[in-house]
């Protein structure tokens, strides 16, 4: 504490292991036609060893310099991270502005037992400050210390780094077993299309049409990539409640722990892809500010879960729906029906959305708007009034012919939109006028 420290010596390797792989690849490319005996005999051996060790030395020097110039310091008030030898970068974060610290472990870091700290700082800067890499136990310990400092306590100086991170007594809200996750992924439409595609490619390649197979292969790889991304993101998923919100940890190759303060949640979407509806499974995503890697992606807070898991997670993220029998309202919101005051599209909408019109509905409560949309795959969005950044009323030519109109509610931090689809035009107008007043109330 309070003095400059260096990160783990293996950090540059974790950042730059691709360079070594690249070197090996270049070597392989250039000696493709040689046999192993040729490679390691005579003058060629000398050259290979000489150039190889020179390249390795260069990389190692680079790593060493990079490591030497990366330092961090934690004072009572700030966290400093300096890095770079030619382009020096000095970053700092005020500890009292630190709102959360995520611990991330990319694959290579995980193999070496290292972890990265990602500071979520509420000072308006867009970029996330990263401190990488530390030993995992050390990272956990630092996280606890800094969070304690952020809450105005003075951290007890603890010398013993080897000590495993103190298990935080947090109630577990939801956990996704591997079997259910795999089942849920297999029931997703992209997986089914991908599998059917693979099957047809298999059949065609047996009958011998190479060109066709070659054309389909990239598409199949795309589906495979999607599947892996989902799996990697949702594997071993667990969400627990903390004082301020949710703490989620997940990952197959790259593991991640993120804290999501409930105050950062802008809107919530509970969706049920087509085949999940048969099993009563849902997935929950949120628009959140300053959490997650990308600005334009939603944060997954429950990859798959039944209604009970949804109520638990919702109870943390949006504890008050301002409805009397909250549980039933939630159930109506994410399934179907117009009980509890939900208003759906009129029968006129049947010609425009033959499947979905019955299920499109909305409910405005004291503190949020709940909208439901979709036909086979159904979603419900929950947007609190005070999180709405802007609201759009729209009407296309066919909607105008049927005297229908829609309203969209935009919030920050992701792609979730509160979508009131094909309402009776006068209902939409009335909602639009009333909602405009509601969302500026303080």
């Amino acid at each position: 504490m309070n003095q400059w420290q260096r990160v783990h010596p293996a950090s540059p390797f974790v950042h730059g292991w691709l360079a070594i792989v690249g070197l090996l690849w270049v070597y392989w490319q250039n000696t493709d036609e040689l046999s192993w005996a040729d490679r390691f005999s005579g003058s060629r051996l000398t050259w290979t060893v000489a150039i190889g060790s020179a390249a390795l030395l260069l990389v190692l020097i680079f790593y060493a310099l990079s490591w030497y110039f990366t330092r961090y310091k934690i004072s009572e008030t700030h966290v400093y991270v300096n890095s770079g030898m030619i382009f020096r970068s000095q970053k700092q974060a005020r500890i009292d502005k630190v709102q959360g610290i995520d611990i991330a472990q990319p694959l290579v870091a995980r193999l070496l037992g290292l972890a990265e700290l990602r500071f979520d700082v509420a000072d308006g800067s867009a970029s996330v400050m990263r401190l990488s890499f530390l030993r995992k136990a050390h990272a956990h310990q630092l996280r606890t210390e800094i969070l304690a400092l952020a809450q105005g306590e003075v951290a007890a100086p603890s010398e013993d780094v080897e000590q495993p991170p103190a298990a935080e007594p947090v109630p577990l809200m939801a956990k996704v077993p591997a079997g259910r996750l795999l089942a849920s992924l297999l029931l997703r439409v992209p997986t089914i299309i991908g599998l059917l595609g693979a099957l047809s490619v298999g059949i065609v390649s047996i009958t011998g049409n190479g060109a066709f197979v070659a054309g389909l292969l990239p598409i199949l790889l795309g589906f495979g990539g999607w599947f892996y991304k989902e799996l990697n993101n949702s594997w071993n998923f667990s969400a627990s409640a903390t004082d301020t919100g949710l703490r989620i940890s997940h990952g197959l190759a790259d593991t991640k722990q993120q804290s999501l303060p409930a105050g950062r949640v802008q809107s919530i979407q509970v969706s049920s892809p087509a085949f999940w509806r048969l099993l009563g499974w849902y997935r929950v995503e949120v628009n959140a500010l300053g959490v997650g890697d990308e600005e334009f992606s939603n944060l997954l807070v429950l990859p798959v879960g039944d209604f009970n898991a949804v109520t638990q997670v919702m109870g943390i993220l949006l504890p008050d729906l301002s409805a009397e029998n909250q549980r039933e309202v939630l159930l109506t919101a994410i399934t179907t029906g117009t009980t509890h005051g939900f208003i759906n599209s009129p029968v006129r909408a049947k010609t425009l959305s033959p499947g979905a019109w019955k299920h499109q509905a909305f409910l405005a409560t004291q503190n949020c708007v709940i909208t439901r949309f979709g036909w086979l795959s159904r979603s419900a969005a929950f947007v609190p009034h005070n999180r709405i950044q802007g609201m759009g009323w729209q009407q296309g030519p066919w909607e105008r012919r049927h005297d229908l109109a829609g309203v969209r509610l935009y919030s920050a931090g992701g792609t979730i939109i509160g979508y009131l689809h094909q309402l009776d035009a006068s209902v939409a107008s009335e909602f639009f006028a009333v909602q405009a007043k509601r969302q500026v109330e303080r």
């Binding site: 005070n386 709405i388 950044q389 802007g390 009323w393 935009y410 969302q439 500026v440």
Partner: protein, 165 residues
């Protein structure tokens, strides 16, 4: 009040009618670009390369047809543009076939931008863009007189500071 649109013309401020000229210039540039692409088969044929007759005729006819349709509603598009400064929010409406209204509370504004391209500048016009934290909730009011745009920006910024949510 039946739909918001019908009650509008009275209390919305329309954009400058000169904006039609800007739209017209943009329309002619765009249409000629598309037409040039659509005429490619004809040019190929003139150079002696094989191009089927239907490919020579159909695309230019389509492009010209669509361009004329767009031209027909261009004036209405300009007339449909309008904004309204209310006590706590700004309303922007647009569109003829796909009608839209966007409400942005002043307290949600992040920054206001006034820009003007070469064509707009020629007619003394500018475009005002109002950004919030949500990318989709961005209000754009084109076709304002340069001084109107400046004044509106000043008022919006002041209102934004007064209405911090």
């Amino acid at each position: 009040m039946k739909t918001p649109m019908e009650s509008l013309p009275n209390n919305f401020t329309a954009v400058d009618p000169d904006y039609f000229k800007v739209k017209l210039v943009n329309w002619s540039i765009q249409s000629s670009c598309y037409l040039l692409v659509a005429l490619l088969p004809l040019i190929l044929r003139l150079f002696g390369l094989p191009a089927p007759w239907w490919l020579v005729i159909v695309p230019p006819v389509l492009v010209i047809g669509i361009a004329l349709l767009v031209l027909r509603i261009l004036r209405r598009q300009v007339r449909a543009l309008g904004y309204q400064e209310r006590t706590e929010d700004l309303v922007v409406r647009s569109g003829v076939l796909w009608r839209k209204q966007l409400v942005i509370p002043y307290g949600r504004m992040q920054y206001v931008e006034v820009t003007s391209g070469p064509v707009e500048r020629r007619y003394g016009l500018c475009k005002l863009t109002l950004n919030t934290a949500a990318g989709a909730a961005t209000a754009v009011i084109p076709g304002l007189r340069a001084e109107t745009g400046e004044e509106l920006r000043e008022r919006l910024v002041a209102a934004g500071e007064a209405n911090q949510l």
